[in-house]
């Protein structure tokens, strides 16, 4: 489930054609079949099938550019991503300020990973990236460091959403050190073999496939090693609804959205919801990080 070769993904064009075909079938048969379609599927959909480039790049939650799903695509077009540098600081022996070119020069690989949004939808995205641990190994983390904090750029001139108090800007996210060092925690540099579009978090973002999407901070300028648990943006906005861990967990409902099932982006009107998997299906890889923890309390 973790990695596939590019050749195993359905090419974009064929995928889209198939989609519109299925959709048009769906509409004409819609009224007839609505009742005969089986209820919520037992298994997750085929993860080989990547979501289309168009959907991945036009349907985004990126509140720095507005709260609408289409806002980032429209408003991030002229976002300045050069010059850009990333500071790695805090409880480290060798703090660093890396020009983004140097980070992008680190060898990226294709990682097809599933994104599950806390709102109850999911995508499968062929990211380009590398493990965050590669970056963190450059700075010699001090033993006192327990958490990693990610900070998104604060640029209200270009990020119009930051002009309003929707969240406490800049956007802060964070992980426990062992989560951050896990090989699946990815520094994303691109998607679908291309450089990362602005609306998806250019020039650099983080991606943690077993956590709800909002944990994966975009347009990162600072990575700080800390002793205390970071005051992450959504937890700060509503601690009852969003926990620090925010692992995908079908058994812990969000007060407003059921987390038991999800809608697959790009599917037709008639496609049923699919069951959400514990840790978004990455349990074999990451469940051991939470041994002995009550995940209902540490949501």
């Amino acid at each position: 489930m973790i990695k596939f070769k590019h050749s195993e993904i359905t090419p974009e064009k064929i995928y889209n054609k198939r989609r519109s075909f299925v959709k048009s079938m769906g509409y004409s048969l819609g009224a007839l079949t609505l009742n005969s379609i089986p209820l919520i599927n037992a298994n997750a959909s085929n993860l080989n099938e990547a979501t289309s480039y168009e959907d991945i790049t036009t349907y985004n939650n990126y509140y720095e550019f507005g709260t609408g799903k289409g806002d980032p695509h429209r408003r991030a077009k002229n976002f300045t991503t050069r010059p850009w540098s990333v500071k790695i600081e805090g409880l480290v022996e060798k703090p660093l300020e890396l020009p983004v070119e140097e980070v992008l020069a680190i060898k990226s690989e294709e990682r097809i990973l599933k994104l599950r949004c806390v709102e109850g939808w999911s995508m499968v995205i062929p990211w380009l990236g590398f493990s965050l641990s590669e970056l963190l190994n450059k700075v010699q983390i001090k033993p006192a460091a327990k958490f990693v904090e990610f900070e998104t750029i604060y640029n209200p001139e270009e990020m119009v959403g930051q002009r309003y108090p929707v969240l406490n800007w800049p956007y802060i996210e964070g992980l426990r050190i062992d989560e951050a060092m896990h090989p699946l925690t990815t520094v994303v540099t691109g998607l679908y073999g291309k450089s990362l579009p602005n609306q998806n978090g250019a020039p650099l973002r983080i991606f943690i496939p077993w956590k709800y999407g909002f944990k994966s901070a975009k347009a990162i300028v600072k990575i700080r090693l800390t002793k205390n648990m970071p005051n992450t943006a959504w937890k700060n906005a509503s601690p009852r609804e969003y926990g620090f861990y925010s692992n995908v967990n079908p058994e812990v409902d969000h007060p407003r959205w059921s987390q038991a099932t999800e809608r697959v982006i790009g599917e037709s009107i008639l496609a049923p919801r699919i069951k959400t998997l514990m840790f978004n299906g990455y349990g074999d890889e990451v469940a051991h990080l939470y041994n002995g923890m009550d995940l209902k309390k540490n949501y």
């Binding site: 209820l39 979501t51 799903k69 709102e119 407003r256 059921s258 009107i269």
Partner: protein, 190 residues
């Protein structure tokens, strides 16, 4: 001319249906079509509540009673769009799978309040005919003041289902509060 006005307005008020039909036919519902349909009719329900609540203030402001002719139509359209909104949630999203749905109604306050608003709207729709007006006499007015509560429920429904109040839930709530505040003033004068 006058005979054509009502049918014309009726066809105009079907606007949300034209839009969604166009989007379905030309495949423009976007990446999350089910969500799009549910939200489309939810938002239009709020717009129709606002239109219905605007009639009385418009009557006072323009000193014309013409508006009142359309109030029932607006009200029934509110019920119509609220019903499609709810049915698309129950049918399209949850495939009439009632166990999680009932769970939702009791566990999620935004669903609870939305569903309550729809039940109240049903009551108003059922008592909207001339016959019912005659039958209920002065009680009719009292019952139909429930629309104020429905409007507040609708605004809360939108606020609670959104991740943040910015900006649409806030805008709709402000408009509804302004329209409701007209009622308070008018009653003081009377």
């Amino acid at each position: 001319m006058k005979n054509y006005l009502k049918p014309f307005v009726f066809l105009l008020l079907l606007w949300p249906i034209y839009i969604i039909s166009y989007q379905i036919i030309f495949n423009e519902l976007g990446p999350e079509p089910v969500d799009r349909i549910i939200n489309h009719f939810g938002e239009w329900t709020l717009i129709f509540i606002i239109l219905t609540l605007s009639i009385s203030p418009l009557r006072k402001l323009t000193n014309s009673t013409e508006w009142i002719k359309f109030r029932r139509m607006f009200g029934l359209f509110t019920f119509f769009y609220a019903s499609i909104h709810m049915l698309s949630y129950v049918g399209l999203d949850y495939r009439f799978d009632f166990e999680p749905l009932i769970n939702d109604v009791f566990k999620k306050k935004f669903i609870f309040i939305g569903f309550s608003a729809w039940l109240l709207l049903t009551l108003l729709a059922l008592t909207s005919s001339d016959k019912m007006i005659r039958l209920l006499k002065h009680n009719w007015k009292k019952i139909h003041r429930l629309v104020y509560i429905i409007a507040i429920f609708g605004a809360l429904h939108f606020i609670w289902l959104s991740k943040t109040i910015f900006f649409k839930p806030l805008i709709y709530s402000i408009i509804i509060l302004i329209l409701l505040s007209f009622r308070i003033k008018f009653r003081k004068k009377a």
